[in-house]
């Protein structure tokens, strides 16, 4: 072995490299682990060489060069963590294909030709949230905040025309997209029965999102949710008495209603309270989600509990597909649209509408794909994230960023 004076160092094909002005992030999609390195003369040179696709992810290194402490540490730690490996320098150069996405139907590629973009466009639709009305007799404090952060009811003055809605539902009936129906109080929608009948013809999952105070007493109305393709999502977003809610849940359970609870919280105190309720509901085998929402007064709560630290981002385990997905699409928004009672259609409720329910659904979806405002809104397109090496693995921008008015909910880049 004394004769080895030159080595080949190569990276595995499942290793991604990202950089910013401070350093490098190497991410191994096989193990879901990342490693960070500071920038340094010789490391910069080696990484730059490896990043050039023409060099096929391998570099020739003289053993003598490894006496440089930084390079030695760099190579050895990558090898130890199975990010790369070494072979003898007299052997042929390792030829490894670096991970560079080839997305065949990439919109940027198809922009010049409208037809292929339209091809199969309806298969991009995965979830539709429809606000059928805005009528509700309650005055929840969170009414104007929550629905901008995740599907949830809100009040308004409009009511969606049923004929338009019916045509729309027919047009998407074979897409398999799940449908959320909410309001106001959707049980007060004038065409509630006809709507339920139209939804019954669709195979996909249908969820009515309703404030707990709007759940009807009449069991006949709730019968719909005994059907396995329907479910009732019960929103808790204001002060509540735990025992009353558990009683509602038990009553629904006795009637075999498919139910799911979602408890909105704005503080640690509310979170603790929600956990108590969640525990009691979970004992009934009922699914419960606790969801923080921003109410313009609780930024500190978000900063302390929701904003991400570098360790949080590094703890995310992603595979190759996940990393590629984060490059090209917003994994929170992609495939989702919202229809408001006035007929306007949104790809993201915090952005401008992308169309109206009167239009061809395919045309609306094409417009969104072309725009990159929501479905393709990634960290790569937004400052300061596009200058941060952790954009490689950081979750897509969510509605929280939009409502808080800050493009990054993290303490990594200010």
């Amino acid at each position: 072995m004394k004769n080895i004076s030159v080595l080949w160092f190569y990276l595995e094909p499942y290793v991604f490299i990202s950089e910013d002005r401070n350093g490098f992030l190497f991410y191994n999609t096989n193990s879901g682990k990342g490693m960070v390195f500071d920038k340094n003369g010789i490391i910069n040179k080696v990484v730059k060489y490896l990043q050039n696709p023409e060099n096929m992810y391998s570099i020739r290194i003289g053993v003598k060069e490894l006496e440089n402490e930084h390079l030695y540490h760099f190579i050895q730690s990558l090898q130890e963590a199975t990010f790369g490996d070494l072979t003898e320098g007299h052997l042929s150069k390792p030829v490894i294909m670096p991970p560079i996405l080839n997305l065949q139907k990439n919109v940027e590629r198809l922009k010049t030709d409208y037809s292929p973009l339209n091809e199969n466009i309806l298969s991009c639709l995965h979830e539709v949230t429809i606000f059928v009305n805005g009528k509700c007799k309650h005055h929840c404090k969170a009414c104007q905040y929550m629905f901008k952060q995740y599907p949830c009811c809100t009040k308004s003055d409009d009511t969606l025309d049923f004929n338009l809605l019916n045509d729309f539902l027919y047009s998407i009936s074979r897409t398999g997209a799940s449908v959320n129906i909410t309001g106001g109080n959707p049980f007060q929608y004038p065409e509630f029965d006809k709507l339920s009948e139209a939804l019954g013809k669709m195979d996909s999952l249908k969820t009515y999102i309703v404030n707990y105070r709007n759940i009807p007493e009449d069991p006949d109305v709730l019968n719909l949710f005994a059907n396995e393709s329907f479910r009732l999502k019960i929103v808790v977003n204001d002060s509540y008495r735990e025992n009353s809610l558990v009683t509602i849940a038990e009553r629904l359970q006795q009637d075999n209603i498919n139910q799911l609870w979602e408890i909105g919280i704005t503080s640690v105190h509310e979170c603790e309270k929600a956990e108590c309720l969640s525990e009691r509901l979970s004992r009934l085998n009922i699914e419960v989600n606790i969801k923080p929402y921003y109410n313009r007064k609780n930024l500190v709560f978000f900063e302390e509990n929701i904003f991400m630290q570098q360790e949080d981002i590094m703890a995310v385990e992603l595979d190759r597909q996940d990393v590629f997905a984060l490059q090209e699409l917003n994994t929170c928004n992609f495939g989702k649209i919202t229809v408001m009672p006035d007929g306007k259609v949104y790809a993201n409720i915090n952005k401008e509408p992308i169309g109206n329910i009167r239009e061809q659904t395919g045309d609306i979806l094409c417009r969104e794909l072309l725009s990159s405002e929501s479905w393709r809104h990634t960290r790569y397109r937004t400052a300061p994230c596009n200058r941060c090496r952790f954009r490689l693995i950081c979750p897509s921008p969510s509605n929280y960023e939009s409502v808080i008015g800050k493009p990054n909910l993290c303490h990594v880049v200010q």
Binding site: I4, D85, K105
Partner: protein, 464 residues
């Protein structure tokens, strides 16, 4: 031992060694130690039978029918040529008997109606679409009435959502006569021509005379009188055989028409067993010059479409794990995905082909005995349950063979072309472990010789 190994789960290959070099810093410098590493035998274990256990459903067939974008009509089985290697002649036994028949336009309209009506259902995922109508033969120009009637009918059907486009595969003999019509309707025309007169010598009239001069004169006429149409709408297809080779054909088309033809091989599916030897002689292209200047020119002109680059492209797409078709493919996991046997297209996912005998097939390239429906006096008769049953049956019959093949997940073989010889299925692309390792090494070698193409192919090439 060092070799390249394909990881089927992740769809990329990587380097595998049975030893490990370790670095150690000592007082006298860097020490390197070599230690044997026992490869984890389960690391790349793959249950191919399980992976190949995919099936299709009647519902998915029905969905495909609502999404058809390409109709091919076998306008006639008659032809004014009698090419030696024609897929409907002496070498083959997998086609319906040629009886100089003409496709009934009334029945063709029933198929168009069927596709149009299906397009108006919610199962159609492309509410606005172009439907390509392709006229195929025999020689389609022998039934020009059919073509004009179908074009007129489909033009009347067009609306905001559905438009029709037209294309035709022709031997070019009668093209000049009907040219104004094709220019008016913006036809894309694929003309079959195998190169110079010597190269084209298998393309004969019934009297045994060469068709070259007629076709060549027609092309010159179009080039000189309708240069825009010639440039945009005329494509050439050249079959490679023992009277030509790529270099000669390329030079001919560059010099005469400033065009690059599509190269295709002689159809090797459905060859009669007694004709195999003769076929092999004919189907083997003539010797090429290794350092011919036309090869360099071909590489320059064709760029990423150069055939050797295309082979590299295929290798990269199949073995880099970097290729995804759509945004949905990026979003949804395929953890429990089950492949079908072979690499056969999903029925009707590319096109629907109507033969002169009113049979319906998923493609014109497969034997006509594999009919999946027909057009009757009253309409289209496709039983989706039956299509799925038949298709799954073919897949099942291949499963044993495919599960032994190492091209799992990256096979491009159509199962309708797999031959049954003495009750034994024979796939020309079957590879065992050793064969696959050789194939992988060749691909890696090609990549190491052209590393500059890697980035370009991954970033630029779309094979939609």
């Amino acid at each position: 031992m060092i070799n390249y190994h394909f990881n089927n789960k992740e769809s990329f290959y990587t380097l595998r060694k049975n030893y490990r070099l370790s670095l150690q810093k000592t007082d006298i410098g860097i020490q390197i130690t070599k230690a044997k590493k026992v490869p984890n035998r389960n690391e790349y274990y793959l249950d191919r039978t399980q992976l190949r256990s995919g099936h299709i459903t009647a519902e998915s067939v029905s969905n495909q029918l609502a999404n058809i974008r390409h109709i091919v009509f076998e306008v006639t089985d008659a032809c004014n040529l009698q090419c030696t290697y024609c897929a409907y002649r002496d070498f083959y036994d997998n086609y319906d008997k040629r009886e100089n028949r003409y496709l009934d336009v009334r029945k063709a309209k029933l198929l168009i109606d069927f596709v149009f009506e299906k397009s108006n259902t919610p199962a159609n995922k492309s509410p606005r679409k172009d439907i390509l109508v392709n006229f195929y033969g025999g020689e389609p120009l022998l039934n020009m009435d059919f073509i004009t009637e179908v074009v007129s009918y489909t033009k009347r059907m067009e609306n905001d959502c559905v438009k029709f486009r037209y294309s035709m595969t022709s031997n070019g003999v009668l093209l000049k006569k009907y040219l104004p019509f094709f220019i008016q309707y913006d036809f894309d025309i694929l003309v079959s021509l195998d190169g110079s007169k010597e190269n084209d010598a298998y393309r004969l009239f019934h009297n045994g005379k060469s068709s070259f001069d007629t076709v060549y004169d027609n092309m010159i006429h179009i080039r000189d009188n309708y240069p825009v149409f010639f440039e945009r709408n005329i494509l050439f297809n050249s079959v490679l055989h023992n009277l030509n080779n790529r270099q000669e054909v390329f030079q001919f088309f560059q010099h005469e028409f400033n065009k690059v033809p599509l190269f295709s091989k002689v159809n090797d599916v459905g060859i009669k067993s007694e004709m195999e030897k003769k076929f092999d002689v004919l189907a083997t292209p003539g010797q090429e010059m290794p350092d011919d200047k036309s090869e360099t020119e071909m590489k320059r002109v064709m760029d990423l479409n150069y055939d050797k680059t295309k082979r590299l492209q295929q290798f990269i797409f199949l073995h880099s794990g970097n290729k995804y078709n759509s945004y949905n493919d990026l979003l949804f996991k395929r953890d429990n995905f089950r492949y079908l046997s072979s690499g056969t297209c999903f029925p009707f996912s590319r096109k629907i082909f109507m033969t002169v005998n009113n049979k319906l097939l998923p493609c014109e390239k497969i034997g006509q005995r594999f009919s999946f429906g027909r057009v009757t006096e009253t309409g289209v008769d496709i039983d989706c349950e039956e299509v799925a049953r038949k298709y799954n049956g073919y897949c099942d019959s291949l499963r044993k063979l495919c599960s032994r093949c190492h091209h799992v997940g990256n096979c491009s073989v159509c199962m309708f072309g797999v031959q049954n010889k003495e009750d034994k299925l024979v796939c020309k692309s079957f590879v065992n472990k050793r064969g696959f390792d050789d194939y992988l090494q060749k691909g890696v070698d090609r990549l190491s010789q052209n590393p500059e193409l890697y980035k370009r192919i991954v970033e630029e090439v779309a094979i939609l």
